[in-house]
């Protein structure tokens, strides 16, 4: 029987537990503070990241895994009869997908690798990896799994709010929300990652409270009474995340939910105080 291995990258923000349970391989992106380089999720984790961020005089940067990094990982997990589904962070946001594609072409004869552009990020990507792994465990084929990933992506919703658009702007990932940068009033945009995989604004309000309220309204508009699995991701704000989950569960049909922390690579581009919700119909 074909063994299907799932690979994703560290921007997926899946928990260690999920990694182990589902046997998902996670390739780390890199975070650079000045001349220091850290491997996301390996030698830098959310708690130390945000501390470093606060202390650092310069903004950190991120970089994708090189094609060689991918090649080594693929070779490592490859075996006769294995197929690899490698789901990456949105190509519009990172060169990771590109690296994976290059690695695949370099390994053409040696391994059966399918690269998928999630057009998503953080747990939006993570969810796809988890779903893929579950489907693989259930014995589905590569085609079926990829189709499933597509449909989950299609049906899921992502909303996030940032404390300031500065990080997105300076990191160059502000995408379609660029017009909102520089507004002199404390305006909180509700952002999403749109169908093309870019950051895009959905709405804008004033103040954190209103922003949270608006995110919930949007979820209501999207799902009504449909059952959803809710994941709340945060950067060092467990309490806010729990409160948000409670508020959502009050007005929506949420049989299951979980929490995760936004990893350092995501953190470089969104900044501290970011709150995100990922909703997937069950």
């Amino acid at each position: 029987m074909t063994m299907i291995r799932i690979v994703t990258d560290s921007t997926s923000d899946i928990t260690k537990k999920e990694q182990e349970t589902y046997g998902v391989e996670v390739i780390p992106l890199k975070v650079h503070f000045g001349n220091e380089t850290y491997f996301d999720g390996v030698d830098i984790h959310p708690s130390d990241f945000y501390t470093k961020l606060e202390q650092s005089p310069e903004l950190p940067t991120t970089s994708q895994p090189s094609p060689v990094d991918f090649m080594e990982l693929y070779k490592k997990i490859n075996a006769p009869g294995t197929e690899i589904i490698s789901i990456q962070v949105s190509a519009a946001l990172s060169g990771t997908y590109q690296s994976a594609m290059l690695a695949k072409s370099l390994l053409e004869e040696e391994a059966a690798i399918h690269i998928v552009d999630s057009r998503s990020a953080s747990y939006g990507l993570g969810m796809l990896a988890v779903v893929a792994a579950k489907e693989a465990q259930a014995g589905k084929s590569v085609e079926e799994i990829i189709a499933k990933i597509e449909s989950v992506r299609e049906a899921s919703q992502i909303y996030f709010i940032v404390d300031t658009l500065q990080y997105l702007y300076k990191g160059g990932r502000i995408g379609k929300a660029s017009a909102l940068f520089g507004s002199m009033l404390g305006i909180k945009p509700i952002l999403t990652i749109d169908k093309s995989g870019e950051v895009a604004p959905v709405d804008k309000v004033r103040g954190h409270k209103k922003a949270v309220k608006r995110m919930i309204e949007l979820l209501q508009q999207d799902f009504g009474s449909k059952a959803i699995h809710l994941v709340v991701a945060h950067s060092e704000a467990q309490e806010s995340a729990e409160e948000l989950q409670r508020m959502v569960s009050e007005v929506l049909n949420v049989p299951t939910h979980s929490f995760t922390e936004l990893g350092p690579v995501i953190g470089v581009h969104t900044g501290p105080g970011t709150l995100a919700v990922f909703a997937f119909p069950v």
């Binding site: 009033l185 404390g186 309000v205 004033r206 954190h208 209103k210």
Partner: protein
């Protein structure tokens, strides 16, 4: 011999006299403002509106009544400022339509035209309020219709109209409670009465001489270009004179001094200005390097020039005998310069529409303009001296916005009608979001979504207006008594959602009381925009107060730079 018809020339004389009557009484009309606040003056707005109408009328003089009134109507429409100005323009629009094909009108036709004006004006206002200029115009027209058939003397007929208007004006406090409270009649209605009085003056016997002698120099305040490099021909002419006998300084004198090196060394602008001011008024002195431009209305132009010659040779000398000037010698370059500052980076007049939707907002204050632009407004329009831009200003702003649909945020209850009127005149799709305050306008601008369709946007923006409370701090320009509050001239006034909320001599106390009334749960978002005249110390006190008393509230301070209002406060 009694006059029985009104020709185009009669009408022109009547309008000129009306404009003059309005102009010379504008302060009195301004004093009738219900709120004793320093802006939004009905008298000034109506005067500026009328001036625009007169300019157009004079540029297209005709003995054909229809053509003359059409010219007036056109000018009024474009120059309309403030709600009263807009209604005035609608009154004459209806009038003009009615007499369009007439060379001259008999009294019955004149009355019918007045009535048509009334109907047009009522239609233009979404919610007509009785006890205002509308009522006065309505009563006057009604009475005119009743009398026209019985009379054959224009003077007596007009007198009837004036009397009916005055009676209606006197009744306005009975119809609008707040007028009664404050103890005034309606300002717009009073302005209209002055207009009818002007009409009457011309129609009375012996008026012919009056017209010749008193025909006003409709001097319009033009923008003074004070930049040293632009000694442009900006003529700051005084407002018109009433009667020849009243002109104290009869010669409008202008020249440029080209200073010699010694002259330049001796020249001190302040001292020079002081010396000249003894010789007349309307003095303007602009100095740049070795050139000094002088403008003065003096009785002895020679003396003035002798004085200036001490510093160098005189050039570009122009002297005019103002007593000889007739109303039709209004120089063409004394146009009312629009106060619009179309400073959006995207605005290019006449440029092709480049996006589906755009925003125009009206505000006075550089800081406020910056803020509006930073949240996506394409073009900012300032209201000028009375804080009310004209219909034409708004039309121009709409045209300069490179979008197919333009949303207009008037941000002032006295500008909403002008914005609606601009909508009719612009050749684009325009949506007026009736914001009555700056905070409302900001909320609406934030709710705007460039990608949403018009219905959704309009709905969202209108809803946003209701979700913010607007407060402001200004000062009282006279004594008053409103809503049980005693106001003394010079008191600080706090307005809350366009009503007077607090008044008192201690600014700090007034602001705190306003804030306390604006906040409910204590965790709202407070935004304070400091004005041009806001005191640093007071602002600091305010910041401290908010952080101590409302620790759960989110608070932002911004420099709005607005005139007349020390603070604008938004709570949402």
């Amino acid at each position: 011999m009694s006059k029985q018809v009104i020709t185009g020339e009669d009408f022109t004389a009547m309008v000129l006299a009306a404009a003059e009557q309005l102009r010379s009484n504008q302060d009195q009309v301004n004093a009738l403002n219900v709120f004793p606040v320093p802006d939004g003056d009905t008298g000034t707005n109506m005067n500026l509106t009328m001036t625009s109408g007169v300019q157009e009328l004079q540029s297209r003089r005709s003995n054909h009544l229809g053509k003359a009134s059409e010219a007036l109507s056109r000018g009024l429409l474009m120059g309309a400022r403030g709600n009263s100005g807009v209604i005035l323009s609608q009154l004459f629009r209806g009038f003009a339509k009615s007499v369009a094909d007439l060379d001259e009108a008999d009294l019955v036709q004149f009355a019918a035209a007045l009535q048509n004006g009334v109907e047009t004006a009522y239609k233009a206002v979404v919610k007509p309020v009785e006890g205002t200029i509308l009522t006065v115009s309505k009563e006057a027209a009604k009475h005119a219709l009743q009398q026209a058939g019985e009379m054959n003397d224009a003077a007596a007929f007009m007198n009837e109209i004036v009397q009916a208007a005055k009676d209606a004006l006197a009744r306005t406090p009975e119809q609008l409670p707040i007028l009664k409270q404050v103890g005034v009649v309606d300002a717009g209605g009073q302005g209209l009465v002055h207009i009818y009085e002007g009409f009457l003056k011309v129609l009375q016997p012996g008026a012919a001489d009056w017209v010749r002698l008193n025909a006003p120099v409709i001097g319009v305040p033009s923008r003074i270009i004070e930049s040293g490099h632009e000694l442009a021909e900006s003529h700051r002419s005084a407002q018109s004179h009433i009667a020849v006998e009243d002109i104290e300084y009869g010669y409008c004198t202008e020249f440029i001094v080209k200073m010699t090196p010694k002259g330049q060394a001796d020249f001190h602008e302040e001292a020079f200005r002081n010396e000249l001011s003894a010789y007349g008024d309307s003095l303007l002195v602009v100095a740049d390097d070795d050139l000094v431009k002088v403008h003065i209305h003096a009785e002895e132009p020679g003396t003035v020039m002798n004085h200036a010659m001490k510093y160098g040779a005189l050039t570009r000398i122009k002297i005019e005998n103002m007593r000889e000037q007739h109303s039709d010698i209004v120089s063409g370059d004394e146009a009312v310069k629009s106060e619009a500052v179309p400073a959006g980076e995207n605005s290019q007049p006449g440029s092709a529409s480049s996006k589906p939707a755009g925003l125009v907002a009206i505000a006075a204050g550089d800081g406020l303009s910056d803020i509006f632009r930073s949240i996506g407004v394409d073009l900012m329009l300032s209201g000028g001296q009375t804080m009310n831009p004209s219909t034409e200003d708004i039309v121009k702003a709409i045209r300069s916005t490179p979008a197919d649909t333009v949303y207009v945020l008037p941000n002032n209850s006295n500008i909403v009608l002008a914005a609606e009127q601009a909508k009719e005149l612009a050749d684009k799709r325009v949506v007026v979001i009736p914001s009555k305050t700056i905070p409302q306008g900001l909320a609406a601008a934030i709710a705007f979504n460039g990608n949403a369709d018009v219905e959704d946007n309009e709905k969202a923006m209108r809803a946003a207006l209701r979700q913010v409370r607007s407060g402001s701090i200004t000062y009282a320009v006279r004594d008053s008594h409103i809503s049980g509050i005693d106001i003394h001239e010079g008191d600080y006034l706090a307005m809350l959602d366009n009503e007077i909320a607090v008044a008192g001599p201690d600014q700090d106390h007034v602001i705190k009381q306003l804030l306390d009334r604006m906040l409910e749960s204590g965790d709202e978002i407070i935004t304070v925009f400091t004005g041009q005249d806001a005191g640093e110390e007071q602002t600091r006190l305010l910041e401290t107060y908010i952080s101590q008393r409302y620790p759960d509230a989110e608070c932002e301070f911004h420099d709005g730079g607005q005139p007349l209002y020390y603070y604008l406060i938004s709570v949402e």
